[in-house]
């Protein structure tokens, strides 16, 4: 047994980062670059009657001014509904309307502010339910004409429905009639932001021979290449996309946005290199954010608390453009019940246009949002029936023999052990039965629980790849298309490779930056699938490498390949271990003491493509979107002041079935990071819009994140039910810490204050309103 697994090694990029030397997209030298800046819409919904760029063009140093009239191409990963620069209509406040390319940033910025736009306001639609009203004007008049990139996005022209996913199982109607308790709840969750520390940035240049180079902070460099190639009719081989470290992505850097603009900017100045930067305020208001959600959840249970039926409607507020939101609606449909057995189910998950900033993937891909609704509803049901909310969840937890909402049979290997997670979190949190504890005066302590599961929604044919080469000291280099954005993927892959090659993980050097010309394609660094997809590719590359080493070793030692073992930096015969060669002596082919050359240089390569996934049936939702599920359970404890309506989060516990722990410290940190993000989201964060649809104060002076020093105590523990199809049995875990925290917090606060808190964020003012303290 090698020591590469279950080892808390430092991250591969740790020294670079803690010394401030890690380079991000906009840190690279830019002396020869022109600068581009954007002008964005001040209106949530308006016809653009005219744009006067003369004043901007006349300024010294200005090289080009672009508007929507300069590019009639539509973009979008699933449904092509978005112009690079608004053309004819601006559909959200913050939408890029014009772009200036100039010799430096001040010139570009000054020129952008000189552009005059004449708008004619159109009525904005600011909530999904408003956009769903029969008389609501469609935000996209030409919805029927948009190109569908994938077959399972089905927009409904004449309405604001961009996509709809249905799940139908059993007979919900009949089952409700048999229930001893039925509860129904409505939810309204506002959009919010990713707020990665690194503000988005991109650069582009077009060489004289037509080769395009894009440098960007993308989580999806291969998608950037593909979309640019398809949209602009460039041969994909002519495009190189480079991604250095990414300073936090959280899903917000998965869409292709600035790259398109940077390419257009470079094209407008004859291919000269252009650097497009945006201030934080534009990063927030203009580029995709976290989705909002409206939902109605109806649950029914028998007198024993066993769930009998569920009826759910989810309206995803995707904002003005779809981006990846139809798939988030699909993800909700696929996992909508949470990790519980519900045999009679009806769920509609819709993706609805509004005049908000458009949404994209956000850590957990909608699971945090729908989980909030389902888990609040479960607490209401437990209240109604007089059950301990944790015990109610344990009763209903998915077990072998049950099915997921889309009809996939649950097995421990596939869906993990939900019950163990609940039992372990009960212990870890010193669960109190869900009853608040009075501390005297107006203070109480209360705990709330939430379970969750998460599956992924990759394309059914998503791929990954890995190359492994040797250094002269016998150490190896690992090259993949995985972007390192802080989620520890590179380190996990190094550990997987070290384990397989029986090397010290320090002997695995990971190529830190992605260059699409060099690294094998990795679909996208999203969905927590790095360890699974790239990990499987790494294992295959290692197998390939070992086979080559064995061939060379067998020839050099004069024995059968089957006798050869590769371990601890040596190649040897298992029959005569004292006869060995150092790995470094074999890696590039072996030279005998007499000078004869034996074998070939060893070069490992591994490719991996997802298998066994399907589209969901449009009528019933039947199908399978994910290689596996990762379940978990969380408990949040609060100390509340009932009189002041204030509270503190004291502890947050999480037990996750990670399959197998590869790096305990890194896994704990990643999960606690997710929990922290969940606490921040649930207690503070929201995009607030005024009645005209303009975001109120989209800046970090008023949009507050949880600051260090105000964190609760995080307790993280693991259940290990291996996934046999995954490297080392490890399930995806990187996003998951966030998922149940908002729900567990709302459950704790609802218990503390004795009222139903069904919205986010849980600010004291909202609590006071909910307990009826405000007029």
């Amino acid at each position: 047994m090698n020591m590469a697994l279950n080892a808390s090694i430092h991250r591969k990029e740790a020294w670079d980062k803690v010394c401030g030397r890690a380079k991000y997209a906009d840190d690279l030298p830019a002396a020869d670059h022109l600068c581009a800046r954007l002008l964005t819409s001040t209106r949530a919904h308006a016809r653009i009657l005219g744009i006067d760029t003369a004043g901007a063009s006349a300024l010294p140093g200005v090289k080009a001014v672009l508007t929507g009239e300069d590019c009639d191409l539509l973009f979008g990963p699933l449904l092509q509904d978005r112009y690079a620069l608004a053309r004819g209509v601006a559909r959200y406040a913050g939408e890029p309307v014009a772009m200036v390319v100039a010799v430096d940033e001040p010139a570009a910025e000054a020129a952008a502010r000189r552009i005059a736009i004449e708008y004619e306001d159109l009525p904005p639609l600011l909530t999904p339910s408003q956009a769903m009203l029969p008389n609501a004007a469609p935000i996209h008049e030409k919805l029927a004409d948009y190109k569908r990139v994938v077959s399972d996005v089905r927009p409904e022209p004449g309405t604001n429905v961009a996509a709809r996913h249905r799940v139908r199982k059993g007979d919900a109607k009949a089952a409700f009639a048999r229930c001893a308790a039925v509860i129904e709840k409505r939810f309204f969750l506002p959009p919010s932001d990713h707020l990665a520390m690194e503000v988005r940035a991109a650069r582009a240049e077009i060489a004289a021979d037509g080769n395009v180079l894009v440098t960007t902070c993308s989580q999806a460099p291969y998608t950037v290449k593909k979309q640019l190639a398809e949209a602009f009719k460039i041969e994909a081989g002519m495009i190189t996309v480079r991604v250095p470290f990414v300073g936090g992505g959280f899903g917000g850097k998965a869409p292709v946005t600035l790259e398109i603009l940077a390419y257009l900017a470079s094209k407008s100045v004859g291919g000269r290199p252009v650097r497009l930067t945006i201030p934080r305020e534009q990063d927030m208001a203009s580029f995709p954010c976290r989705m909002g959600l409206e939902a109605t959840v109806r649950l029914g249970a028998d007198e024993n608390g066993m769930l009998q039926a569920a009826e759910m409607e989810f309206l995803v507020d995707c904002g003005a453009y779809t981006d990846i939101s139809p798939n988030m609606a699909k993800a909700i449909a696929a996992d909508c019940t949470g990790p519980y057995r519900v045999e009679n189910l009806s769920c509609d998950a819709l993706c609805v246009y509004t005049n908000h900033t458009y949404a994209t993937s956000f850590r957990s891909f909608s699971h945090d949002s729908y989980t909030f609704c389902v888990e609040r509803a479960l607490d209401a049901l437990a209240n109604r029936l007089g059950f301990d909310p944790l015990e109610l969840r344990l009763k209903n937890a998915v077990r072998p023999g049950d099915f997921t909402p889309t009809g996939v049979p649950a097995t421990p290997e596939l869906t993990g052990d939900v019950s163990r997670c609940i039992e372990e979190v009960k212990r870890l949190s010193c669960w109190d039965g869900g009853r608040p504890l009075s501390l005297g005066g107006s203070k109480v302590r209360a705990k709330g629980v939430s379970c969750f599961w998460k599956s992924a929604n990759p394309p059914t044919n998503a791929v990954s790849g890995a190359f492994v080469t040797f250094n002269s000291d016998g150490s190896v280099n690992l090259l993949t298309g995985v972007v390192e954005m802080g989620s520890g993927g590179h380190t996990q892959l190094a550990q997987i490779l070290a384990e397989k090659l029986k090397l010290d993980p320090a002997q695995v050097h990971v190529v830190a930056h992605v260059d699409t010309r060099v690294a094998p394609e990795h679909w996208k660094t999203v969905a927590s699938l790095t360890g699974y997809m790239a990990g499987n590719a790494v294992l295959r590359a290692a197998d390939d490498l070992i086979a080559q080493l064995k061939r060379t070793g067998a020839e050099a030692l004069g024995c059968a390949e089957a006798e050869i073992e590769v371990a601890d930096g040596r190649v040897y015969s298992i029959k005569e271990p004292e006869r060995f060669m150092l790995l470094k002596a074999v890696a590039q082919g072996y030279q005998t003491p007499g000078g004869a050359s034996v074998g070939e240089p060893a070069l490992g390569r591994g490719g991996y493509m997802l298998k066994g996934l399907s589209m969901l049936d449009p009528a019933t939702g039947k199908g399978r979107t994910s290689p596996q599920w990762t379940p978990g359970a969380q408990v949040v404890e609060v100390e509340a002041d009932l009189e002041a309506c204030t509270y503190r989060v004291i502890t947050a516990c999480c037990v996750l079935d990670v399959g197998k722990v590869v790096n305990p410290a890194a896994t704990r940190a990643m999960i606690a990071g997710g929990m922290s993000m969940g606490v921040s989201l649930a207690t503070r964060e929201a995009y607030e819009y005024d009645e005209n649809g303009s975001p109120r104060a989209p800046n970090l002076r008023t949009y507050k994140l949880l600051h260090i020093g105000q964190e609760p105590e995080y307790r993280v523990d693991f259940v290990e039910t291996p996934d046999p199809t995954a490297p080392c049995g490890a399930r995806p875990y990187t996003e998951h810490g966030i998922i149940g925290i908002p729900a567990a917090l709302a459950n704790a606060l609802s218990a503390a204050f004795g009222c139903a808190l069904d919205g986010l964020p849980l600010r004291p003012e909202a609590i006071r309103r909910a307990i009826g303290g405000a007029p």
Binding site: A108, L706, E765
Partner: protein, 279 residues
């Protein structure tokens, strides 16, 4: 990024700073006195201001440092919030400075900047209003010493071309019983939803407020109510809130009605602690 060029002048004396300011005005240019710069940078970035010149006053000896003598404490306008906090010479002012922005910004924001800026809270002003501080200003007409409350109405209101040089707090205030209570929407490092700052002159409670209304203030009427010790704390708190000089402020951080609720609750707690002798 500040998308425009501007001149930077580092003045060595008060006279030099004021003369440079006057020179700019005469040329029809806009100038700003500059010390920490946090607000100038933010507002210039956002396009809200576009000064032609900034006049850095940090080198001017009169604007620097703190001096304690038998009559009180004098604080230079260019002292940073963090310097004031760490000096521990005026505990109540130190508490106020320690809750404005985060530590990084406390090391940059100056007392003068917090009093003069356009952000409406000016929390460092509250202890100065309560202790009858004196302000020293310097302008085209030379030095002027006035009660701080005379030049601080909602924000510091110097005469054209005039700059704040120092403030002086009387010695009694440096050791007086006090309380500083700041309530925010939820995040600790934030603008105040309600800031109640209290200082006791003998057994008389003085109180000033920020966040509650659109500008910080001290109200004689509210102080009179709070000192009606025959009434119970809850009643005094209720009456004091009813006596707000203007409507409670409403913005993205909280509604006016909610601010009034938080103020009432905060005052009640403060008065109860006073009654219990636990301040």
């Amino acid at each position: 990024m500040i998308p425009f060029g501007f001149a930077y002048c580092r003045a060595q004396t008060l006279a030099e700073a004021v003369a440079e300011y006057a020179r700019c005005m005469a040329l029809g240019k806009t100038a700003l006195y500059y010390a920490g710069g946090s607000e100038i940078i933010t507002m210039a970035r956002a396009g809200d201001i576009r000064p032609d010149e900034v006049i850095d006053v940090k080198d001017i000896v009169e604007c620097r440092g703190m001096e304690r003598d038998e009559l009180g404490l004098s604080i230079g306008a260019a002292c940073t919030l963090n310097q004031i906090k760490e000096a521990k010479l005026f505990p109540l002012l130190g508490l106020a400075c320690g809750r404005i922005a985060d530590h990084t910004n406390q090391c940059r924001i100056t007392l003068g900047g917090n009093l003069s800026g356009s952000i409406i809270y000016h929390e460092a002003a509250l202890p100065l209003l309560l202790c009858d501080a004196e302000a020293s200003l310097f302008g085209p007409e030379g030095e002027r010493r006035v009660p701080f409350a005379d030049v601080f109405q909602g924000r510091l209101r110097p005469l054209p071309g005039e700059m704040l040089v120092r403030v002086r707090a009387p010695v009694w205030a440096l050791a007086a019983k006090h309380a500083h209570i700041k309530k925010t929407t939820n995040e600790k490092i934030d603008y105040p939803l309600v800031n109640v700052t209290a200082l006791f002159y003998g057994e008389a409670l003085r109180a000033a407020f920020s966040g509650v209304c659109a500008q910080p203030f001290r109200s004689e009427r509210m102080e009179a109510i709070l000192n009606e010790r025959a009434l119970c704390p809850a009643e005094r708190a209720r009456l004091a809130v009813a006596a707000l000089p203007e409507r409670a402020h409403a913005d993205v951080e909280g509604s006016g009605e909610y601010r009034a609720f938080v103020l009432e609750h905060t005052l009640k707690k403060l008065l109860e602690d006073w009654e219990l002798g636990s301040l």
